[in-house]
Amino acid sequence: MPYKLDIDQMHELIVQPETGMGYQYVEASMSDYTSLKGVVLNGELFIPENKIAKIMGRHYLTYSAVLKEAEQPGYVRQLTVLRRDKLHLGESLHFAKIAKTPASGAPISETEIKQFFKRFSPYRNDHRITEDGGLRSGSYATTEADARNVNTGTVAVLRYALPSDEPAIYVFSIKPPEKTLVRIGVVEPANGKPGGGVEVLFEHGSPSKTVTGPETIPAG
């Protein structure tokens, strides 16, 4: 259950630096004299570490819904803002930290169940997609989340630093089995393009019947 903070606590927190955009890591001394680490949202709502996944996980509630369900002020006696490295929230829950390096230099990680990826290609007959709907070893794609930044084939060319200026209008969807080995990184500037998108290198590809498409997006 999250806990609302009182006005004095809110004033105390608001003058201290955030840990990240809109939140602070804290250690809370509770009214029962237990001590809980967790996160404070918007300087007003404390969520203990062990409740974060449930409340803020994939099926997250809206902030207003969480606020509505929160305990009234009085449960939290004192708060201490923590440095970022004093708390590790959900790192193991997130699908692989995205290395700030190209995928080729990133550590190996495993895909999670029901995780989708996208491959943008100028070629309908993309040779990296096998005839039985698999993906060949050593092929690149991007995450479903990063693909949402791409609405045209030209954007794909720029974001994934593709060498040809031909718009990558064909979009293949990849749904690999759980625990497929991948490396995830960031596209470096190359080929006269800025890069910056997330790239996923499928170390051993993906088996048959895991790739569908292509769908077609505008050229740009």
């Binding site: 290609s121 100028p122 060949r136 690149y140 630093a161 593709l162 060498p163 596209v187």
Partner: protein, 68 residues
């Protein structure tokens, strides 16, 4: 200038990792002994050659080595 590769070269290239989404960087070893370095191959079938190699033909190629 694009030189379209045949099935032999495409099949070989598909055994190697991509450099990025949809392309590989290769060194083109010619039968003359010369190597043309760092050439882009698109979709494992289109060799993108500099203009000075506009007259290059498939039969001139001894090997394609995918760069790491």
């Amino acid at each position: 200038m694009k030189l379209k590769l045949n099935a032999h070269w495409t099949e070989k290239l598909l055994k190697y990792p991509e450099t990025g989404m949809g392309y590989q960087r290769v060194d083109v070893v010619l039968k003359s002994g010369k190597t043309v370095s760092d050439i882009v191959v698109l979709n494992a079938e289109n060799l993108v050659l500099p203009d000075q190699y506009a007259n290059l033909e498939l039969q001139d190629i001894a090997d394609l080595i995918v760069r790491k």
